[in-house]
Amino acid sequence: MSMRLPRSTGEWINRDKVIKFSFEGKDYTAFEGDTVSSALWAAGERALGRSFKYHRPRGVLSFANHDVNVMLTDGLDTNIRGDVVTIRDGQKFVAVNTDGGVRNDKNKYIDSISPLLPVGFYYKAFHTPRRMFPFWENIIRKAAGLGIVNFNFPRVTKRKLNRHCDLLVIGAGPAGLSAALVAAEAGLDVVVVDENQYAGGSLSYDRAGSGELATKLADLLSMVNRTPNIKLYTGAYAAGYYTDHLVPIVRADGITKVRAKSVIVASGAFEQPPVFRNNDLPGVMLGSAAQRMIHRYSTKPFDKGLVVTANDHGYRVALDLIEAGVKVLAVVDLRASGQNADLMSNVVRKGIAVHTGQCVYEAVPTEGKFGVKEAVVCPFDEATATVDTSKAVTIPCDGIAMSAGWAPAAALLYQAGTAMRYDYTVQQFVPAKLPAGVFAAGKVNGVFDLAQRVHDGARAANDVLRYLGKPAADVVVSEHAGAAPSHPYPVVPHPKAKNFVDFDEDLQLKDFINGAKEGFDNIELMKRFTTVGMGPSQGKHSNMNAIRILARIRGLPVEKIGTTTARPFFHPTPIGHLAGRGLHPHRLTPMHAWHEEAGAEFVEVGPWMRAAYYKKPGLSKAEIVQEEALAVRHAAGIIDGGSLGKFELQGPDASEFLNRFYTGIFSSQKIGETRYALMLDEAGVVVDDGVVSRLGLESFYVTVSTSNAAAVYREMQRCLQTWKLNVGLTNVTGAVGLINVAGPKARQIVAKTTSLDISDKAFPFGEIRETEVAGVPARIIRVGFVSDLAFEIHMAAGYARHVWDALLAAGKDEGLRPFGTDAQRLLRLEMGNHLVGHDTDGLTNPFEIGAEWAIKMAKGFFVGQRSLKIIAKRPLKKRLVPFVLDESYKGQMPQECNLVIEDGQIKGRTTSVSYSKSAGRVIGFAYVDPNQASPGSRFNIRTDSGVMVKATVVKAPFVSLQQGA
């Protein structure tokens, strides 16, 4: 049976293009532009999904993505909103959350046992006995959720764009379009966004049986299209409001982050369902849904039905239904009086019975609850919300259109910080105080009359012009006249319940009453207890009724109940949209291509890609790392250290700055000398360490750790600003390449590339020289991080590859081998050098790592000094010590972060653990009780499996030194 109506002006379907699709295994045809719901409804289908909790059949409710009755999967994507997603040819849809399909869902029995499953049931029933909880948890987890995530979903890049404008208008209804036109006429660059496929808002469906409004909309859109400084985005929703008028606009193909100078929220209102028994049956729908179906998709909502209303909008719906050929049996109005006389008489003139002071007490279902068989109508007392069932009248019908009121689509206004008030003339929350640059217009602003909405848009646009410092007119918007568009309490009690408030979560009136009885009588608590508004539609169709019900339960005015927090995003948004292109910036050293060709396995160190080790066929990673380390111990190794942070400081106050910034003394440092530099924060916690080289009286060169470089530089800049010292600070991390040649043959290799005398006597450990290496200017520092004989060569980044190649050539016959960061970590451990951030954490003070020698407490101020004075007076709680396992140990290898246990108490943890071929045993660092810190002390490490392993404190280094040989 086709419900499709004849072609009409402004319909959103293209009848010239027929497409095919299937639903639940059955083939259907649709027109291009049809949504899944519209096409199925036009084909006579009513049951389009099953509800979340009770698995009740569901059809169309809002037809606007304000509910999730129709949620589908096409095998690839899931939770597709059937009401608003247009069909592509060949798609095969299945409803989510069924076991056996919509018509034969095996879980439909849950509806019959629903009295056993009240809200809060889960919280109370399954937590005892505790041993049974995993069993229940498994069942509940499987039952929870709607669609099933497809983990093989293809990676499709969703672009994230930035857009700027003078004015962003959210909502392309009459108020929004009017605002855009006024603002654009004044020269503003205007962006208008609307979540619907076409602009027009209520003008595209709320016609009250007249064709006049279609013409008005066409005229408005024509003007917008002729205005070059208006950019209209449809099929895109404003997802949230962030500081400084940043509004992400979500489109099917990505997100546009709009930064506007001003924002007008003209987002309209969500229609709210009246609450009565079986108000969720397929065929019972909101009045606006019926209108959308008629005017956008030329589909008849039902053949013969009635309109239940609690406002004047219901009469407009009735007129539209009549115009569409629906046999309207009656208009049932909860209100005893106050109806708009013109609308009412229009309906009566069409021969429709109007029953005032009456309600639909219940909708009686057809077999299987797949549709409506009849409606039971009773007298209704508005003041007490009670029903006189003795005068019940049964009206056979196949559909009911509901109009009871509206909730403002004010999520973005709330997020912007708008103070709202409850306006009794419209029975709605409206903006009381808007933040600077944010304006509201139309229904969201409490303005419902069409002409006044157009005025309100113009008024808001003029407010924007004024805000932007431009000439603006005063536009007067008339106060609301007549009955309120929303009913204060459109709720009909029923002893058998199933009078739904929240369709997403299957919440009935009694659930709220029970929640309040249990003490959850604050709206935020009630939300969490009942889960109202926590479904995928986030309370769009349910929150306002929930507030009204709670207000009635507590005997308070609605404004005393308040609203729940409106958080972004406005609709559920795919993770792929948030990920966007997935930009992942990486820094590469000048030798990166060489490392790639040499088979490097890369590791991310901060933003850098560094070679972890160089793969060799037939060898495991562990074997390679040991080989690379042995090369450094027995011959020489070369490592690309370009990622190290490097700063140049110049100026008369440079040494004073370093004295304050680090724990050591640098004012007495000799030119050509290097010093260890330990950085603390104000709390005395070790933050970083590095090396300070003095190049001249007022010139220093500082190296810091790779991963902390950016943070240290920022802190240096901050301190310079604070201390107002005369220092020129330059970050040369990227501009300077760094190569470290280490091992017993390092000197003879480096000597081949430079004319500098690098003998131990002429160039001892801890000094720096400025010279040439391989023909290019370079600095060489004698360092001892991975080996006590090592040369760090620093040169302009552009020459680094040249120097690298020259050193490799010079070391070709000396056994020079590149090594990566994995071997570097082992080598520094063998040398007994701790790594800040690896062997320390966010609470470690220098006394705990034995760095007292690096602290010059007697000097003037330095960062962390005051805290250290306090810490020094307290007993030391733990101490970092080098340790070894017994040479013969063959058991489970302790891992980093295993606990140190003594007498059943946690005394510390391991921070570095590795097998060292050079040492011939497992070596490491661990925090232990200070009483156990002396060499020779034994302590226990508990491995992952719980085995206790004996370790012995030793003196570092773990390997014999070259002593400058």
Binding site: L583, L588, A593, G798
Partner: protein
């Protein structure tokens, strides 16, 4: 001081997305002169062209007396912070903040090496080592590319004629300006050289989606063809 006998690699490794068809040494650096044939390049460039011009000579200086030092060396300076001027020889002088300057030569000017040969020795002037990746971008769809990688409005309407913008492009710090080069509006972009490959690959990937892509240095500087 630059050692002219050593050819430095560009901070950008082209590979993966677009391989240059001609690489040449310009000012001691190996850079891509062409990507594909001339027709392909010009077709791409009409939509979005991106060229690596990191080989152009560069000099950085900062400090409270940097203005005085540069004036003493007869360098035309922007009066305002965060602005730039072009010298008569085609070099661009960028004022980064109040007291830091970046000078980048045109292919034919030699202001940077001239300044580098006489580095500052006076109080309050410090040389800033530069190792930038330097790019030029243009084309009818370049705004779409910029809108994806930068949150600031870089359109002609918003970005002043002589404005220098220090911002984030594709998530990393970059300096951007707009200029007219041989009658065409182009954008110049600088970032730390170690991010050069990432920046290049990101921009070229987006440009290719928009119908543009990598073009050689000679596409913008015919004298280097």
């Amino acid at each position: 001081m630059q050692n002219t006998s050593i050819i430095q690699p560009s901070p950008i490794t082209y590979g993966h997305i677009a391989e240059p068809s001609k690489i040449g040494s310009v000012h001691g650096m190996a850079v891509a002169l062409k990507f594909g044939n001339g027709d392909e390049e010009s077709k791409r460039r009409q939509l979005i062209g991106i060229a690596d011009i990191s080989c152009l000579s560069r000099f950085g200086v900062k400090g409270p007396n940097a203005v005085q030092w540069l004036r003493a060396h007869k360098v035309d300076l922007p009066e305002e912070r965060n602005s730039w001027v072009a010298t008569s020889s085609g070099a661009v002088v960028l004022r980064l903040g109040n007291s830091e300057f970046l000078i980048e030569d045109s292919p034919t000017s030699s202001l940077a090496p001239s300044l580098a040969s006489d580095p500052p020795k006076m109080f309050g002037v410090y040389t800033v080592r530069r190792s930038d990746a330097s790019l030029v971008l243009s084309g009818s769809r370049v705004q779409e590319l910029l809108a994806e990688v930068c949150t600031l409005d870089l359109s002609e309407k918003a970005l002043g004629k002589n404005a220098v913008v220090m911002t984030q492009v594709a998530g990393i710090s970059a300096t951007v300006l707009r200029q007219s080069l041989n009658g065409e509006t182009v954008y110049r972009l600088w970032c730390d050289g170690t991010y050069g490959t990432y920046m290049w690959h990101t921009l070229v990937e987006i440009a290719e989606e928009l119908g543009g892509g990598a073009v050689g240095l000679s596409s913008y500087f015919k004298e280097l063809a």
